[in-house]
Every structure is written in structure tokens, then in C-alpha cells.
């Protein structure tokens, strides 16, 4: 499962977009919000959560990994 971004806490800094090693998160310039655009390419490395200055990101695993 991809990272879950709390858009209310989000500071719209774009760090998650910049730091994601897999180009999964794209900051939408028009909506001014980050979007997890390629959720099935998430590597679950935790970089977005680590570097988010607003602590707005949670890592939630889904059944495809928890129940394999």
C-alpha cells in the first residue's frame, strides 16, 4: 500500500515529491497538493514519511503484503 498523506497537515513543500526514490509522488502544481500517482510502484522505503516536515505521512500496508 502506498503512503497516506494527510492533506490538512500538508505544508505543500514538495519534499515528498522530490525525495521519493521511485517518482511515485507527484506534486500537482494546479491543486497545490501532493498526489501518490503511482501507488503500485511504492517501495515502502519510508523516505517520504521521514522527511515530511509536517509529519503528514503515514505508511499503511495492505493485505497483499500483510496476508501473503
Amino acid at each position: 500500500m502506498p503512503p497516506v498523506i494527510n492533506l490538512k497537515k500538508c505544508k505543500k513543500c514538495g519534499t515528498c515529491d522530490l525525495h521519493c526514490p521511485l517518482d511515485v509522488i507527484h506534486f500537482d502544481r494546479k491543486k497545490k497538493l501532493p498526489l501518490v500517482k503511482y501507488p503500485d510502484e511504492c517501495w515502502h522505503c519510508g523516505s517520504c514519511r521521514l522527511d515530511c516536515p509536517a509529519k503528514a505521512i503515514e505508511i499503511r500496508f495492505g493485505p497483499e503484503m500483510l496476508c501473503l
Binding site: 507527484h26 500517482k37 510502484e41 522505503c45 523516505s47 497483499e64 503484503m65
Partner: protein
């Protein structure tokens, strides 16, 4: 210096171009910058979190001279045993031993100490080591700290830039081309030297979870260096190796080392601690032995398999829980979300997906390097997992730094800026953007899935002359479908080019596997038609491009003497 080249994008110039801003790439940047070179790092991401150690790492292998097993000689002797046939002791000595002291100091200087808060080293032993070579440390900020240091020293960074081809002139590498994976802007980079540091090759074998990006090492690392170096005529080595490890079931996460290194046992469904049955060192046996044992236990119906840490002391368990997130930031979350308390229940594990990479923790597969990290093509260097003689945190740190120094020295002697041939740039640009014009009748994801399944079947944990040749035939057929895989944007283009890199590495892997007519490192190269390991093959399979495709030769290596420092 940036120049606009119209439809050919932007032209940049530097002394040392580093492709891949991971652990080795960043250390290389520091090495080159300290020598006064101009450095440009190009990475598909940003350098703060890219590559294999993104969210952290927890182990640095080193000898510290405290005891007879803790010496350079004992380390090299162990290396010669554990990686016999793929490691070159003379190169290992040059890229690790000579650079070790400086590397430990550099770690301290940038703010990533290897010590515990009480000033001591916490060391663990595994993989058949003669003593606890692994220094356990908190490397969660190692990547950002290295990135900060490289930038502080003046590194230029091209973020979200996929490098797709090397530029050559008169048999020398003079730069590279690439594109921005968001905007599609094309880059032509003239460089006096190039260091390739893009890691090992992942997404190449079927993933047991069915999720191709659920990989042990970084799924963005798909063999760019190996592919580009091969095209430029460089020699590669150790390409036959399949790497498999053990991971928590469902999540291909690093962390096994932490669990077993701290005393965790591997048990089957009946609670049997079965490893001693398979190897005298039990759970401290070489990794491939652990993998084979688990595979056999599962195959023979004694699974599921678990790592059991319930017997650890309260102090050991506290340390384990505190440090488990160092190597994989989200592993503690996974275990918690599974509802497991390691102190009370065992954790199910499984063999990971296969990767193309190192046979051990001390060397890898890829560009064949010498004692100066130079490839066989002038101007081209390699560092980290894509170099045949480096792997893991310790070697990427020491060897990456050495590579930077050597490339800077080489650049110093190059003189005037290299000439870049426009015709070559245009040709590479056309190749790079070709998928944007493809027919679209074949989908990228299913193409890659098919390739992965086919390779696991024919070139995975059991190989034969027949199966490897079938794999090569099918790879050639698959390759003809590239013209039908369409990229609708530059992110998709990046993925399709990655699929091509995987395919090229797979061809090299199968060809090298055919040449090694023996079995070595168990499942890491298991020839069912040549099931024994023979000293005749105590050396590397070297591979390079020819007009007819590729050729291999055997390079015998000396394991009888420890090279002097």
C-alpha cells in the same frame, strides 16, 4: 556551464559525471570534489534518499584490529573464502582496505557516527565471518548527510534525470546523455570522466508477492550502468550470479541480518531449529546456505518458516526493537500491522525475489574494475553495486570515495574539454525517446511480468545448458516487442527504458551462466548439469560486446596469497 541546444535540449559540462547519486555515488562525489574537480551527479530522484539505503542502513563491515580475527589479513582471508571465484583480492585490498581508516573518519566527520551513544561499537557476526565484522549503527540519516556534504563541497546535481547512454570518442568515454523523467528535457553532458554508480539489477525475476516493486534492493536500480558500459565496450564480470535472500513473508525488506545477528533462530512449522542440519555455522552460515535450507524445508512440506526471537533477553529484545527500523524504516510498522510482538511470537519469513547482483556482502556483478576502479574503457569508472568488486555499505563508502579521487585525477590529465559528436547525441536521443512513438499494442507491465516469470523458470535457482539457451531465445523474441510498448509520458518512458536495461542484463546473465560450467554459491549459480564446484573455475567469467553479440572468457584469480596493504 549550461548551453541551450534547441531540440537537443541542454548541454552541460563537467570534469567528473557521476551517474547515480546513491551511497557509492555520493562518496565518489566527495572524493572527486576534495581533489578539486567539478562534479555533476545525475540521479533519477534527488540525492537525499535515492538508491538502496534510502530510509536508512544499519551495518558497516570493518576490521578494527582488536583481536587476531579483527585484522586486514583475517578479513581478506574470509573474503577469499566466501566470494571465491567472483572476488579479486587485490582489488578488494585497494578499494576497501587502503581506504578504510579514512572512511570511518569521514562517517564521523559528516555526522553519522558508527558508535553507540556510549562511545563503543556494537558488533555482530554472521555470514560465516571469523568474528563480528558488522558494526551495527544508526544510518537513518546517512543518505541526507552524505548529500549535504557533497553539496557543501560544491556538487552540481541533476535531479530526476535518467542517463540513457554514454558518449564516446576514439574509444574513450567523453560524457553521457539523459532526460528529465518529468519534463522530458534532454541533456547532453560533456565530461572528462564518468563514474557509473547505479547499483545492481532488480525487477529481473518473478516476485513472490506478485508486486514487482516490493524488492529487497532499490527497484529503480535496473542495470543502467551494466547496460551502458556494455554498449561502450567495457568488460563486465560476475554477471551469472542470482542473489536471493530471506525476508519477512510479504515484505521484501532488509532486516534478517539484524534478527539473526542478534540471536534469532530460524525454525520450521514444527519448531525445529533446522539450520545446523544444513551447515555447521547454523544461522551464521553464508546467506546462500540459509536460502537453500529454507527453500528445501518449504519444498519438503515443513513450512511455514519463521524467525524466532522469543528467547532473546529483555536487553537484547529492547535493542532489536529499537534498531530494527534502521535498515528498513517501515519494517517495524509492517510487523506491528501484522499484529506481531517479536518478544511473544515468531515472524514468518520466505525466500526473497531473485536479483542480479553480488554473491556475497563483499562484491557484486557488473563492470569489471581494476585497483583504481577504472573499467576497461578509458574515462569510465564504476563504483558501488554496479562494479564487480564492490558491494554493501563498507565497500560503497570506501570504494566510492576512491573512485571519485581516481576519476578526478584522470580528468586532470585529460586537458582540454572532451568533444561531443552531435551525430552520436542525435542517435542516442532517438533511441531514448523511441517508446514515445511505439504502437502501444503491448503493455509495459505485463511485458516485464512475462520476462520475470520466464527468467525465474529458466535462469533462476536451477539452470542448465538447455534452460539457459531457451531463456536467451525468449529474451531475443521479447526484445522484438519493444517497438510496441508505448510511453504516454516521461515517467512511463523511464519504466520502459528500465525494462530494456533489465532485458540486456538478463542476456548477459544467461550468457555468463552458460560459460560457468559448474555450480558455485549454491542457488546463486546452480547448474543442474554441472552440480559440483570445481577449482578449475576459481575465477571470473568476463563478458563483453562483440559484433556478433557477446563473448566470454575465464579469468583465473589467485586466492593463495593475501596482497600486501
Amino acid at each position: 556551464m549550461v548551453k541551450n541546444m534547441g531540440s537537443l535540449g541542454e548541454r552541460l559540462e563537467t570534469d567528473v559525471l557521476i551517474v547515480g547519486g546513491g551511497l557509492a555515488g555520493n562518496n565518489a562525489a566527495i572524493g572527486a570534489l576534495e581533489k578539486g574537480a567539478r562534479v555533476l551527479i545525475a540521479d533519477k530522484s534527488a540525492i537525499e534518499r535515492c538508491g538502496a539505503i534510502a530510509g536508512g542502513v544499519d551495518h558497516f563491515m570493518a576490521y578494527l584490529g582488536t583481536d587476531i580475527w579483527d585484522t586486514r589479513e583475517a578479513y581478506l582471508e574470509w573474503v577469499g573464502k566466501i566470494a571465491r571465484g567472483t572476488v579479486n583480492l587485490s582489488v578488494q585490498n585497494a578499494v576497501f582496505c587502503r581506504e578504510l581508516d579514512a572512511a570511518i573518519q569521514r562517517m564521523e566527520r559528516i555526522g553519522c557516527t558508527l558508535k553507540q551513544s556510549d562511545g563503543t561499537y556494537y558488533r555482530t557476526m554472521s555470514m560465516g565471518q571469523p568474528g563480528p565484522f558488522f558494526i551495527n549503527f544508526d544510518g537513518k540519516q546517512l543518505k541526507p548527510l552524505l548529500a549535504r556534504e557533497a553539496k557543501r563541497l560544491g556538487a552540481q546535481v541533476l535531479v530526476k534525470c535518467a542517463i540513457t547512454g554514454l558518449l564516446t570518442e576514439d574509444g574513450k568515454v567523453v560524457g553521457a546523455v539523459g532526460f528529465n523523467i518529468r519534463t522530458g528535457k534532454f541533456y547532453t553532458i560533456a565530461a572528462k570522466s564518468v563514474i557509473l554508480a547505479t547499483g545492481n539489477t532488480n525487477r529481473i525475476f518473478e516476485n513472490p508477492s506478485g508486486l514487482p516493486y516490493n524488492t529487497w534492493q532499490c527497484p529503480a536500480n535496473t542495470g543502467a550502468a551494466q547496460t551502458m558500459a556494455f554498449e561502450a565496450g567495457a568488460k563486465l564480470a560476475n554477471m551469472e550470479i542470482v542473489r536471493i535472500t530471506l525476508v519477512p513473508r510479504g515484505f521484501s525488506a532488509a532486516g534478517l541480518n539484524a534478527l539473526t545477528g542478534m540471536g534469532g533462530k530460524i525454525v520450521n512449522a514444527g519448531g525445529e531449529d533446522f539450520m545446523p542440519k544444513y551447515h555447521p555455522a547454523g544461522v551464521r552460515a553464508p546467506r546462500f546456505k540459509l536460502v537453500e535450507a529454507v527453500m528445501k524445508e518449504i519444498y519438503e512440506g515443513r513450512g511455514p518458516i519463521y524467525v524466532d526471537c522469543r528467547h532473546l533477553s529483555a536487553g537484547e529484545m529492547a535493542h532489536l526493537k529499537k534498531t530494527l527500523g534502521y535498515d528498513k524504516d517501515t519494517l517495524p510498522d509492517f510487523i506491528e500491522q501484522k499484529g506481531i510482538d517479536l518478544a511473544k511470537e515468531p515472524l514468518e519469513i520466505m525466500p526473497s525475489e531473485g536479483m542480479q547482483g553480488g554473491s556475497s556482502e563483499v562484491n557484486s556483478s557488473g563492470i569489471m574494475i581494476d585497483e583504481t576502479t577504472a573499467s576497461t574503457v578509458p574515462g569510465l569508472f564504476a563504483a558501488g553495486d554496479c562494479a564487480d568488486q564492490m558491494r554493501c555499505v563498507h565497500l560503497c563508502t570506501t570504494g566510492g570515495y576512491l573512485s571519485g579521487k581516481m576519476a578526478a585525477e584522470y580528468s586532470d590529465n585529460v586537458g582540454k574539454g572532451p568533444r561531443v559528436k552531435l551525430s552520436q547525441v542525435k542517435q542516442l536521443q532517438k533511441k531514448t525517446f523511441a517508446p514515445l512513438r511505439a504502437s502501444g499494442s503491448v503493455l509495459h507491465r505485463s511485458f516485464e511480468d512475462t520476462m520475470r516469470k520466464m527468467l525465474w523458470q529458466n535462469a533462476g535457482p536451477a539452470r542448465s545448458d538447455k534452460s539457459l539457451n531457451v531463456a536467451l531465445e525468449k529474451l531475443e523474441e521479447l526484445e522484438t516487442y519493444f517497438k510496441d510498448i508505448r510511453a504516454q509520458n516521461y515517467h512511463e518512458l523511464t519504466r520502459i527504458l528500465e525494462a530494456n536495461e533489465i532485458l540486456q542484463v538478463a542476456k548477459m546473465m544467461c550468457t555468463a551462466s552458460l560459460a560457468r560450467k559448474e555450480t558455485r554459491f549454491g542457488v546463486y549459480h546452480h547448474r543442474t548439469d554441472y552440480p559440483e564446484t570445481t577449482p578449475e573455475f576459481d575465477g571470473q567469467i568476463v563478458l563483453w560486446k562483440t559484433d556478433r553479440g557477446m563473448e566470454t572468457e575465464f579469468k583465473k584469480l589467485d586466492y593463495s596469497t593475501i596482497p600486501p596493504l
